[in-house]
């Protein structure tokens, strides 16, 4: 059986298994099965020919008379995204071990179902299939956030759902339009890419796609669902959202928007870059004023992905390569940061940075882990944030010096608010909340070691990944 199909089937069947079997061992089963999927991805990684091009293609007729097929394949971009998904899912599951969720089998079943849909999004080579996976990824996270979330979960998750659904439907209209314009009436990626249309039509399609992706990423001013949802969802859900799901939007920009409407990108790409950079500055400034750590990281996340989006839309080689690398990095760092918050919150029942303090005095090991992840997030050289951010800023510099200057502000602002947070939470004197900060458990140590190892791996030897990314970059440049 082709390996891509197995990659999709394992999480699907595991989730169905978990839904069916009510077991206390649900989390162990989920961890085991998702690790299998990660190992499968490593096999894929070694079999993949680094020269580029779409490999492991699988093409079945789904609805023949409508030109819809179940068509999947892997190129450098898909490979990186699948790797990120299958790597982070077991990490996220492992990180949730210290929390007890009611109905764990449903919880982990939903996470695995989401993994399946996300992999599907990244490997789909058929517009219809892409859309189905895209929407499918939304259902599990809706239930995760609404069933295990915080106080206002019902209102917030519904807002999140309707917001993103509306964007997706716009994309559906664009896809149907392209389908009707394609000579063979087919949804296949190559057919959609080959559609010729008027420049005005390309403009409309550009905006329909862009709004759909911008809501998911999220790009200012379509980000308003994000801080609430991140804050209110259970930590594992937040990790799935920020670590993997918002990469769907960035991935969509590369895979679907740029190659299909290159003229639209030439005409309107600049607005996308400007919006992204405005978002970077806006959310950095708001992050400065946050006292809730989870909310703070939510805004940091908007700033980081804004910069990635700017890099991708700058249409410069370095910007795109750096953007793809940064998508991996951001996934790992976001999961790491949310995990740190989770550890603190579980021990102190508090995540207000003004009320915490002095944790480093009590638990220096945890302080080191937090510091490493934090440095990765603010892009210190030798950590994973650096190569990606450097490449993105190089790309932006070639695009426009001012854009680069404003985008670069994020490094300064980011360093400021992250270090300030660290200072307030970890340094200083201990207080009643933090003086009994318990030592890290084995599971927590393992998770943090894995995350920190990745921070250094990408930081010190980014070529490990850039070798896969560089050959595909040229196809995501519109001119």
């Amino acid at each position: 059986m082709p390996i891509v199909a197995i990659l999709l089937l394992v999480p699907l069947l595991s989730s169905l298994l978990l839904f069916a079997v009510k077991s206390d061992k649900a989390k162990t089963i989920a961890l085991g099965l998702s690790t299998i999927n990660f190992i499968l991805t490593l096999v894929l990684l070694f079999q993949y020919d680094k020269k580029g091009g779409t490999q492991f293609i699988l093409d079945y007729n789904w609805i023949q008379s409508l030109g819809i097929s179940f068509s999947v394949g892997i190129d450098g971009l898909s490979l990186m995204m699948v790797l990120l998904t299958t790597f982070l899912t077991p990490v996220i599951i492992l990180s949730s071990f210290s929390n007890t969720y009611k109905n764990p089998n449903v919880f982990y079943g939903l996470i695995l179902l989401m993994e399946m849909a996300l992999i599907g999004v990244f490997v789909a080579r058929d517009g219809f299939l892409f859309y189905v996976f895209w929407e499918l990824a939304l259902i599990p996270i809706y239930f995760i956030a609404a069933l295990w979330g915080g106080e206002n979960r019902i209102r917030i998750t519904l807002k999140f759902f309707i917001y993103t659904l509306f964007g997706s439907l716009l994309m559906l209209v664009a896809l149907i339009y392209l389908y009707n314009q394609s000579p063979a009436h087919s949804f296949s990626y190559d057919a959609l890419k080959g559609v010729t249309m008027s420049r005005a039509a390309e403009g409309w399609i550009f905006w329909a796609f862009f709004i759909a992706f911008a809501i998911k990423i999220p790009i200012f001013p379509l980000h308003t669902w994000q801080p609430d949802t991140y804050t209110d969802a259970p930590t594992s859900g937040t990790m799935m959202l920020s670590g993997i799901m918002l990469k769907m939007g960035l991935f969509g920009l590369l895979r679907w928007l740029i190659p299909i409407v290159p003229n639209g990108v030439d005409d309107y790409g600049k607005y996308a870059v400007i919006l992204a950079v405005v978002g970077v500055i806006y959310s950095s400034l708001i992050a400065l004023a946050q006292s809730d750590m989870k909310r703070l990281i939510a805004y940091v996340s908007i700033a980081h992905v804004g910069l990635i989006a700017a890099g991708l839309m700058s249409q410069k080689e370095q910007g795109i390569a750096g953007g793809i690398l940064q998508m991996l990095t951001h996934g790992i760092n976001a999961v790491g940061l949310f995990y740190v918050v989770d550890i603190i919150e579980r021990r102190t029942k508090n995540r207000n940075i003004n009320q915490l303090g002095g944790i480093a005095n009590v638990n220096s090991l945890f302080a080191i882990f937090f510091m490493i992840i934090l440095l990765g997030s603010i892009a210190l050289p030798l950590t994973n944030g650096f190569p990606g951010e450097f490449l993105i800023l190089t790309g932006l510099y070639k695009y426009n010096v001012w854009i680069c200057a404003f985008g670069g502000l994020t490094i300064i602002l980011g360093a400021y608010y992250m270090l300030k947070t660290y200072q307030k939470v970890m340094l200083g004197n201990t207080n009643a909340l933090t003086e009994n900060f318990e030592p890290l458990t084995g599971v927590e140590k393992t998770t943090l070691v894995i995350i920190c190892a990745m921070v250094f791996l990408i930081g010190i030897y980014p070529n490990l990944f850039l070798d896969y990314i560089n050959p595909v970059v040229s196809q995501f440049i519109s001119h």
Partner: protein
């Protein structure tokens, strides 16, 4: 044709069997009869027969629509065994009248003469007036019946007047006759011809509750016995839209520029009014009534496209809508018999009481909201695709806006079922209810994941 004869005979037999035989055999008899009709109907596949000087013609679409109507009726009858348990005295009447309604519906999907269309609509409507009032001691049921009858006969008047005007212009009731008249006189069609189209449009729009001819819907749906509401909301929609499109596509394609703008405005109003009003409903039954109006708006989009694919679009959409709606009404019946009302709060905490029923109603709501991988999504996609290919992209943009509004109230049920605390009281489903829920859930998923099973065969 054989299906109409057997159905009528089955209806008569049911009426007399109620007098002479044990009432317990009624239901099995009807169910077996319906299965037989499905088989007989399917045998005519690809034969394309015409009957009675071309009064009726059974092409493949008539057969598929007839089968859909029969399957839906079968499910309704499965539910009825339990529903009519407490008032058995008029059981045979109810059953027989439901069967006569189906005869009317089958006529509506297979007419090729305006007289047959009229007879079909009247058979369907008059039976429904009676069924709406079949809960004799309930004030609401009587009100529903009277309201439906008054408004319905008014609409029938419009329809008949329209048919007469068309006859005046064309000199024939026959669809192919009208078509050739339109084609040959395309340059100078008389005014009465256009007025005729408009009046027929009004008559049909009333039957499928298109705004502004929808005012009866909420009250009639609310007042009628729930099982009859389920029947009305599904079978009438299927037959109504099949008839609507059959008539307009066969005869009036070449003059479509004259009525497409009107239909477009009606569709936009229907979608907005149905969806927005549904958001404010606290009563599940009324919410479903407005949701049925909203869905009529989406289906009207398929009519507006005026393409061959519109048949398939209407078929898929009515099928997806019917299966989801039947699930919703099944759960509603279970809720109502335990709580005595249709409030949405009754659903609070249902997932803890019965994960199976919770899953079924969730799937049905997802399908109505049009979320992949349910039938509702694919049907909606198909309609959108058909409409966009005819260049009415702006209509689809309005439709997706409405889909987003739709999520708001359909998810209210899912939220109540899974996320709200409460003591969901409901009678636990017996075998028939379970069977209906399972069949509709499987159909919803199957049409959503493998729609090729239907599409690639037509």
């Amino acid at each position: 044709m054989n299906s109409i004869i057997i159905l009528s005979a089955l209806g008569l037999a049911t009426m007399f069997a109620g007098i002479y035989a044990n009432k317990k055999i009624l239901l099995p008899m009807v169910l077996l009869g319906l299965l037989a009709v499905i088989v007989v109907n399917t045998i005519d596949w690809d034969t394309n027969k015409h009957y009675y000087n071309d009064m009726l013609s059974f092409d493949n679409y008539s057969i598929v629509f007839t089968n859909l109507i029969l399957v839906v009726t079968f499910l309704i009858f499965l539910l009825s065994g339990n529903y009519f348990k407490d008032h058995r005295e008029h059981l045979e009447d109810n059953y027989a009248i439901i069967l006569f309604t189906v005869v009317g519906a089958v006529l509506m999907v297979s007419f090729s003469n305006l007289v047959m269309l009229f007879i079909g609509i009247e058979t369907l409507s008059i039976s429904l007036y009676i069924l709406a009032g079949s809960k004799k001691n309930s004030l609401a049921s009587n009100e529903a019946s009277l309201k439906y009858f008054l408004m319905g006969s008014f609409a029938t008047g419009f329809l008949l007047f329209g048919i007469v005007l068309l006859y005046g212009a064309c000199g024939t009731f026959n669809l192919s006759g009208i078509t050739s008249y339109v084609v040959t006189n395309n340059a100078g069609l008389p005014a009465i011809f256009y007025v005729g189209i408009l009046l027929i449009m009004i008559g049909l729009a009333f039957k499928v509750s298109i705004v502004p001819f929808h005012f009866w819907t909420a009250d009639v749906y609310d007042g009628s016995p729930t099982i009859i509401t389920a029947f009305m909301a599904t079978v009438v929609k299927i037959a109504g839209f099949a008839a609507f499109f059959r008539l307009f596509f066969t005869c009036f394609v070449s003059v479509s520029d004259h009525f497409i703008p009107v239909l477009s405005i009606l569709a936009v109003c229907t979608m907005f009014l149905g969806n927005i009003t549904a958001v404010y409903q606290k009563n599940f039954k009324r919410m479903l009534a407005y949701s049925s109006i909203a869905h009529a708006g989406y289906m009207l989009l398929a009519v507006i496209a005026m393409k061959n694919q519109s048949f398939m679009a209407i078929l898929l959409y009515t099928a997806a809508y019917s299966f989801a709606t039947i699930t919703a009404f099944t759960v509603l019946i279970m809720m109502k018999s335990a709580n005595g009302n249709d409030a949405i709060e009754n659903f609070n905490g249902l997932s803890k009481k019965s994960p199976f029923v919770a899953f079924a109603i969730t799937l049905s709501m997802l399908s109505l909201a049009g979320i992949p991988i349910t039938a509702g999504f694919f049907a909606k996609y198909y309609i959108f695709s058909t409409v966009i290919s005819e260049g009415h992209t702006w209509l689809v943009v309005i439709a997706i806006l409405n889909s987003a509004i739709g999520v708001f109230y359909y998810f209210r049920i899912i939220i109540a079922v899974y996320f709200k605390q409460g003591e969901a009281n409901f009678i636990s489903p017996d075998f028939a209810y379970k069977a209906v829920l399972i069949i509709t859930a499987i159909a919803t998923l199957l049409l959503g994941i493998l729609p090729g099973l239907v599409i690639d065969r037509m």
